[in-house]
Amino acid sequence: MKVYFLKRFLELIPIFFAISIIIFVIMNSMPGDPLLQMRMQNPRAMANDPQRMKELREYYRLDDPLPLKYFTWLKSVITGDLGYSSMYKTPVIDLIASRLPNTLILTITAWLIGLAVALPIGILSAVKKYSFFDYTTTVFAFIGISLPSFWFALIAIIIFSVNLKWLPVSGMATYGVTGFWNVFADRLRYLILPAAVLGLVQVASWVRYIRTSLLEVLDQDYVRTAYAKGVPDRKVIIKHALKNAMIPIITIIALDIPYFFGGALIIETVFSWPGMGRLMYQAVISSDYNLAISCLMFLAIITLISNLIADLLYVLVDPRIRMGRKGA
């Protein structure tokens, strides 16, 4: 088991380097001279002095050959130095650290909402295969995967915030709210709409996975045996079928973690939620290369880690694979 974990972890390293090369190439094909940009943003501090510019070029090692530049960059990234954000004038790492918790709150809530909706619907739709409910679910699943998430979000704002005035339009907190429970309730009001939209967008595909996976298990001999023995339907589905159907479901749901971060990018922008996604969007809009690239690298690492988690979960929950590995 430990060997397998280690092996999977080591496999990530070359992929990490390959991703870093791709991202580095993208970063280096960005138009514009970074020094020129610095001067444009701060013309008084950086007069157009050729001698000074030359010194700066050497200081920032802008004329190094590309491979050398790559290693310099990689070294600083690994040691946690992601450079400065030209927009916020603060270290990128601090910005990410301050925004990441907000994104985590949003994505985890969305993830839970999505799961809470998708699980019962998926199970019911598999158990009542080809029923009216199942057919309706199928159509709704198609509708779900075809909905542009930002449009869904905008419509939700128009209905719940503008017309019904139940929930705030955007942001994360009301200014001047005090007291633990008041703050908690206030935050919750801001959280509900973006989290629900982000979670519900994912429901459609999850319902399909859960349905397919459960149907496959319901077709197995041991389920038929359990029915034949007279075990009540409820117990067969929960104890025998669902337990086994959960294996692929868990994997898929862990694999979808990066999609939440990608989806959060749009949803955070629509709702002005101060998270990583919005940070990255602002970085792209204001050509803050350093920040944009760091966010991208960060999201790529999250993707790698969630793929790893999915793999490990798969092995953990399925004893058959574990035994197979040991025997091999």
């Binding site: 992929i15 390959a18 791709i22 960005m30 995967i145 905008l154 128009i158 971060f261 999201l299």
Partner: protein, 310 residues
């Protein structure tokens, strides 16, 4: 009365049971596709939307940039403006037609290019195997582990926005899924008896790929092309919505929504122009939904397993 009912029912059943003469694979595909209700719905809606965007502008006198300052924020069903007008007096219906041309073109073009590139790489990788295969598939792994939407966003920084650049960006980061799918299929086709016998007879590799492998891959490729198209339309509209895709004054369904967001809380006069948000998004949704239905129907209809059964 019941007798008549049963006779009718019987006739219906006989009608259904009457054998259909099928002469070719594509005829079978059509018969199966026709019986898929959702797919037929998707096909019809898609044809209507395409015809509407292509031919619609020919029948109206206003262009997408024509402003009418005497009618700002007119609600839908106003005289002369069936879907209302926006803050500059642009007709929403006209802009949806022109915007649809862009959205559909981007979707179709990037889906076709992506599918061609992906199929080619998948064929090469699966058929030749060995080092080429390992290198290409590792590259696919790497590309797939970069989060899709964030990288699209970043690439618009490099390539800039505009129709061709959006298509380019969607293609560069869109071919991997098809490639992996085709490769897997080719790997199994490569081991079939008919390919082996062709090899034994000394047929050249290029010919084997074209005559034996490609035709078997095409059904899956068509299905994944439709899925790519719906993905491309959604991506383009998301990018345009974020202001990084198609740039105004040229309308696209996505950037119309971006402008609409400025008025989501209502206009200065307190009116709530919901139609600016609703209609462009509804057209994106309707188009993507139809494409997805179509893809599902094609998946069922093109399934080659049924050919071997018949």
């Amino acid at each position: 009365m019941p007798k008549l009912f049963y006779r009718k029912k019987l006739e219906e059943l006989e009608e259904k049971a009457r054998p259909i003469h099928i002469n070719s694979y594509w005829q079978l595909v059509w018969v199966k596709f026709r019986s898929h209700k959702l797919a037929m719905f998707g096909a019809v809606v898609l044809i209507i939307v395409v015809a509407f965007t292509i031919f619609g502008p020919l029948f109206v006198k206003v262009g997408y940039e024509d402003m009418d300052f005497s009618s700002l924020f007119k609600p839908p069903l106003s005289p002369g403006h069936p879907l209302g007008t926006d803050e500059l007096g642009h007709d929403v219906l006209v802009r949806i037609m022109y915007g649809g041309r862009i959205s559909l073109f981007v979707g179709l073009a990037s889906s076709i290019i992506t599918t061609l590139v992906g199929t080619l790489i998948g064929l090469l990788s699966g058929f030749y195997g060995g080092l080429i295969d390992r290198l290409l598939m590792r590259f696919v792994d790497v590309m797939l582990s970069i989060p899709m939407f964030p990288i699209l966003l970043t690439l618009t920084l490099v390539f800039g926005s505009g129709i061709m650049n959006i298509i380019l960006v969607l293609t560069v980061f869109g071919w991997m899924g098809v490639a992996r799918l085709v490769r897997g299929l080719v790997l199994s086709i490569r081991e079939t008896e008919y390919v082996m016998s062709a090899r034994a007879m000394g047929v050249r590799s290029a010919r084997i790929i074209l005559r034996h492998v490609l035709p078997n891959v095409i059904p899956i490729v068509i299905v994944s092309a439709t899925l790519n198209m719906s993905y491309a339309i959604l991506s383009e509209s998301s990018l345009s919505y974020l202001g990084l895709g198609i740039q105004p004054p040229m309308p696209s369904w996505g950037n119309m929504l971006q402008k609409a967001m400025n008025y989501i809380l209502g206009t200065a006069t307190g009116a709530n122009p919901w139609w600016l948000t609703f209609f462009p998004g509804f057209f994106i949704f309707l188009t993507v939904l139809s494409v997805n239905f179509l893809g599902d129907g094609l998946r069922d209809a093109l399934d080659p397993k049924f050919v071997s059964e018949s």
